[in-house]
Each structure stands twice: as structure tokens, then as C-alpha cells.
């Protein structure tokens, strides 16, 4: 069976719960990832911040409750609100219920979890320790005649 442990993208760079949003966005951009794990001072995993979480925080409540917002196309509110949030702490945007997998889970389980949650990457945890990520492409490439990525 294909297990997560054979396909982990072994990058464990994470942000601290006290890092600011500016750092989170910079890190996502430079590392070319869509979601970044958040850890506490001890390095224990506490959640994940995805691009979607940041957008969710920067789209004003009132825009979310509108059927459509195309009549506001000439306005630049979301970028402005995001700018106001740059100094806020990462923990504020952290999704602590973000789905995770363990190394012994099967790739099929991970695929289903990714599919259901519509996320782009899953943190791989051993206890409370982050040991890497599992991204969509890792899952998609499993099928290529058993080619192992890492």
C-alpha cells in the first residue's frame, strides 16, 4: 500500500504563532506554498494558515453576505483591509482544525481528505511534531507507476 511516509515533502519551515501576517505572506510567496504550518514556541504544531484563510480574514463581512459584489469592481477594499491586517499575529488567522495526516496513513486516505477539505496541502504530523507536508501533486504522482517522490 502507498503510505504517506514515502511521499512526504520534507520541508518543515513554519511560522510562529506570534509571527505577523506580513511574515506569513512573505514566507508563502518565497517558499511557493499555498498553506503554511503554524507552531508554538516549543515547535509543536497548532494549525495551518492557507491563502484562503487570509482572504477570508481580509474580505469584509459585508461583502461575504452579498449575493454578488461585481458592482464594487471599481473599489479596492479587500487589498486595503489586508494591508491593515499585516501587523496582526499569525495565530489570528490560524485554522486549528486544518486536516492533518500521519506518516502511516494511506495515500488514498490523504487524497480523500484533501479532496473533501478542498485544501492544497496537508501537514504530516508525528505526535505534535511537523515532519513535512503532503501536497496535491505528490498524491497525483503516486499513480505514475509507483514513482516515489522523496
Amino acid at each position: 500500500m502507498n503510505r504517506v511516509k514515502d511521499f512526504i515533502y520534507r520541508d518543515i519551515l513554519s511560522v510562529n504563532e506570534n509571527s505577523d501576517l506580513r511574515r506569513v505572506i512573505i514566507t508563502m510567496k518565497r517558499h511557493r506554498v499555498c498553506a503554511i504550518p503554524v507552531v508554538n514556541q516549543l515547535g509543536e504544531y497548532i494549525g495551518c494558515i492557507s491563502e484562503q484563510d487570509i482572504l477570508n480574514a481580509s474580505v469584509p463581512q459585508y461583502m461575504k453576505s452579498m449575493y454578488n459584489t461585481s458592482f464594487m469592481a471599481d473599489l479596492d477594499h479587500i487589498v486595503g483591509h489586508l494591508h491593515d491586517l499585516l501587523d496582526e499575529k499569525a495565530i489570528k488567522f490560524t485554522d486549528s482544525n486544518y486536516p492533518t495526516v500521519t506518516p502511516s496513513d494511506s495515500m488514498s486516505y490523504a487524497a480523500d481528505l484533501l479532496f473533501r477539505s478542498k485544501k492544497t496541502a496537508l501537514p504530516v504530523l508525528e505526535g505534535k511534531m511537523l515532519i513535512g507536508l503532503l501536497t496535491r501533486i505528490e498524491i497525483l504522482t503516486v499513480s505514475l507507476n509507483g514513482n516515489k517522490i522523496s
Binding site: P60, Q61, Y62, M66, S70, F71, M72, A73, D74, L75
Partner: protein, 432 residues
């Protein structure tokens, strides 16, 4: 009390009914349970304890009201997709040229008009996000505008039969039709609106004129883009105007409102090719079951004689004369619905008024207007006075401008008292 008990052998039934009624009322008012659950469990218990049997329970439900409500919900669910409401609101905002006070006036008028034809909750769900969008664009505090919108959603709702749940219930329980409501309620609604604007101007004009607002930015809103499909837009608009015209011309064709609303709702779905599954999901089933539960509980109160007891007491106080009865109902309704949900209150009062032995020489009609206006305007007294108030308050809690109970009370309660004084004079001058 002994006199009352001696009429009815089954004291236990009366006590059980009262206990269920009071608990339901308390749960609804304190929001311990969702409205629909509280009402339906109360209704279930009444049937389960054989205070009313199932047939009586079904009979007690006013399907006229349920039909009208659900039909309007379907119609509005389709219409919301057209962008009509946003179009109207944005167009009006742009006409103000960006003056905060004028925006307050214009948005309040739009709120009042929409409330008269849609239910208040739907109205504020459309207008409040737009208000925030405008305030965010102009960098102003939306609070005065929001408070004014709450006031006008309840004021505007009083104008028509379909504007507010108390009116829908009164319409369902009596022979009063759509035009009766417009003829009798809209004059006082207009007077109260003018006075309210005058008072709001005294309170807010200076404050609103002092802020430096980004007036130009308002022009960046593009109302045309709110309409994504012109054909859809015009189709829904035409069907809606036909429905309203049929409401108004009830005297000519004698088709009842519930029939028109449901027929209109499904016609709307048909001509716009909407998926009924999707539209029916937007029908507020919880609200409908809340009404159903309440009707059954009130049915229990009627059967056990509690309603006639209350009606007799009212007659005792008012000597069976319309005039004092109307004034009593007006003030009682206004003060009660300030703190308790107007829907169960109105449902109860409708039964009580029907049971009242009014002097046969006098028309009972003014009492209905007193109930309608009292229950509608009373909602303005506090932040929990009406469903729309609660919705607006809840919405603002997640924003940088949360409306606080006290803050609203300072404006809303005096405004409510003024509107009731005006209504009281209006009833006196017009009917007596």
C-alpha cells in the same frame, strides 16, 4: 380566579396549557431555544397531553398566513438574484452626491419602501451590507445610518399587509385586505417617517456633517453591474409588479392573498427557469414552523378558555368600547413588543381581540389598526424588539462597528414613544 375556575372542570388542562405557554414564551424571549423549536415542542406537548387533539391542532393553524409567508419567501428568493434591490439602493446612494446625511435619508427611505413589500429581515439583509460597503468606501462610521435603517424597517413594514409578520397575521385572521392596510396604515406611517427624520436630523446632522468623507468614491459603485442578467431582471420585476397589482385589486377578483403569493412564487420560478429545489431551500422553514407552533399553542389557549378570560378582562377594563380598547391595545402592544417577540404576542392578541365582546354598534376595525401599528412600531423600542433589529445587531457584532443595546435604546426607545403618541392621536382623530 375562583369564578374562572368554576367554569372549567379541567383545571389541570388550564395549568398545563399555561405552563407550556409561559415556558414557550420565556424560551423565545430569552432565546434559550431557537424560536421554531420552542414553538413546535410547545405545540407537540399540548397535543401529547390531549389538551387539543391533532385535528384541532391542524384547524388552529392559520394557513392563510403560512401560505402568504411562504409564497412571499419564494418570490423574494428569486428576486434577490436579480440584483434589483442592490440596483435601487446604489442608484439612490449615488444621487446623494456622497453627503452622509443624505445617504442616511435615502437609505432609510429605500429600507422603508422595501420593508413595505418584503419582510423586514430580508430588507435589512440587503441594505445593511450595502451600508457597510458605502461607509467603508467613504471611511465614515455607519452607526447612525444603521440605527435609522432599523427604525425605518419597522416603520415601513407597518404600511402594508405583507410588510411585517403582525400585519400578515392580522390579514390572515380578518377580512381586511391589502388596500385596507394601505388606506389605514400608510398615512400614519408617512407622518411618523417625517417626524422621525426630523428628530434624527436634530440628533445626527451635525455629527454627520462634521466628518470628512470621501464623497467622490461613491461614484465608483456601478449599479449596472449589480444586474447580471437583464432579461432575468426585467422578468422578475414584471412578475413582482403583477403580484402586487393583484394584491391591491383584491376587491375585483376576490382571489385571496395566500393563493396569489404561492401562485406568484411558483410562476416566478417557472418564468425565470429556476430550480425549485434551490429556491425552496431559501424558504425560511424555521420561521414557518415557528408560526405553525404558535398557532397551535394559541389554539390550546382558546380551547381551555384562557383567551376568553383575557378578552373578558379587556372588556372589563374598556367597558366594551372601541375607543379605549384601541388605545389600550396600541400602548399595550407597543410596550410589550419592545421587549418580547411581536409574533407570539400578535398571535395571542388576535385571538383575544376576536373574543372581545365589543359594543355591537361600534366597528372593531380601529382595534386591529391599533394592534398592527403598536406591534410594528413597538419593535423599534429596543435592539431585540424585532427580528430585523436582532439581525442588524448580530451582523454588526462581527464588524468594527458593533451596535450596543444601550446605545440603540437611547435613540430607539424615545423614537418608539414618539411614534406611538402620534399613532394614538391619529387613531383618535381618524376613527373617533
Amino acid at each position: 380566579m375562583t369564578e374562572f375556575l368554576s367554569w372549567h372542570l379541567d383545571t389541570i388542562h388550564i395549568i398545563t396549557t399555561l405552563v407550556i405557554f409561559i415556558f414557550t414564551f420565556v424560551f423565545i424571549t430569552t432565546e434559550t431555544l431557537p424560536n421554531a423549536i420552542a414553538a413546535m415542542i410547545g405545540a407537540f406537548l399540548l397535543v401529547a397531553f390531549h389538551i387539543v387533539n391533532q385535528e384541532e391542532a391542524i384547524e388552529a393553524i392559520d394557513f392563510e398566513t403560512i401560505g402568504l409567508l411562504s409564497g412571499m419567501m419564494m418570490t423574494v428568493a428569486v428576486m434577490r438574484k436579480s440584483g434589483l434591490f442592490e440596483y435601487i439602493a446604489i442608484k439612490s446612494i449615488k444621487l446623494t452626491g456622497g453627503s452622509p446625511w443624505r445617504i442616511l435619508v435615502v437609505l432609510s427611505i429605500v429600507t422603508a419602501i422595501l420593508s413595505a413589500f418584503l419582510d423586514n429581515v430580508t430588507t435589512v439583509l440587503i441594505i445593511v451590507p450595502l451600508t457597510f460597503a458605502v461607509a467603508d468606501t467613504m471611511k465614515i462610521n455607519p452607526m447612525p445610518i444603521l440605527i435609522s435603517e432599523i427604525l425605518f424597517s419597522n416603520i415601513g413594514g407597518a404600511a402594508t399587509l405583507i410588510g411585517d409578520p403582525p400585519n400578515i397575521m392580522i390579514g390572515g385572521a380578518t377580512n381586511l385586505d391589502f388596500m385596507d392596510f394601505i388606506q389605514n396604515n400608510s398615512p400614519v406611517v408617512l407622518i411618523v417617517s417625517v417626524v422621525t427624520f426630523f428628530l434624527l436630523r436634530l440628533i445626527y446632522y451635525k455629527k454627520l456633517s462634521a466628518v470628512i468623507a470621501d464623497k467622490e468614491k461613491i461614484q465608483a459603485f456601478d449599479e449596472k453591474r449589480a444586474i447580471q442578467n437583464k432579461r432575468f431582471f426585467y422578468t422578475t420585476l414584471i412578475v413582482f409588479l403583477v403580484i402586487i397589482t393583484l394584491f391591491i385589486t383584491h376587491q375585483l377578483h376576490k382571489i385571496d392573498l395566500a393563493t396569489l403569493a404561492i401562485g406568484g412564487g411558483f410562476t416566478m420560478m417557472m418564468v425565470t427557469k429556476q430550480d425549485p429545489e434551490e429556491i425552496l431551500k431559501e424558504v425560511e422553514w424555521a420561521t414557518l414552523f415557528f408560526f405553525i407552533g404558535l398557532f397551535i399553542i394559541i389554539g390550546g389557549l382558546e380551547k381551555t378558555g384562557i383567551i376568553s378570560f383575557l378578552a373578558d378582562k379587556m372588556v372589563e377594563v374598556t367597558h366594551g368600547e372601541t375607543e379605549p380598547a384601541a388605545q389600550l391595545v396600541l400602548w399595550m402592544s407597543a410596550l410589550s413588543t419592545t421587549f418580547i417577540n411581536s409574533i407570539p404576542y400578535t398571535a395571542t392578541m388576535i385571538s383575544v381581540i376576536k373574543e372581545m365582546a365589543i359594543n355591537p354598534d361600534q366597528s372593531i376595525e380601529p382595534i386591529w389598526w391599533a394592534l398592527s401599528l403598536g406591534a410594528c412600531f413597538g419593535g423599534n423600542g429596543t435592539l431585540i424588539g424585532a427580528a430585523a433589529n436582532i439581525i442588524v445587531a448580530g451582523f454588526t457584532q462581527k464588524t468594527p462597528y458593533p451596535i450596543k443595546f444601550k446605545e440603540y435604546f437611547k435613540i430607539g426607545f424615545p423614537m418608539m414613544l414618539v411614534s406611538i403618541v402620534i399613532t394614538s392621536l391619529y387613531l383618535y382623530i381618524r376613527y373617533f
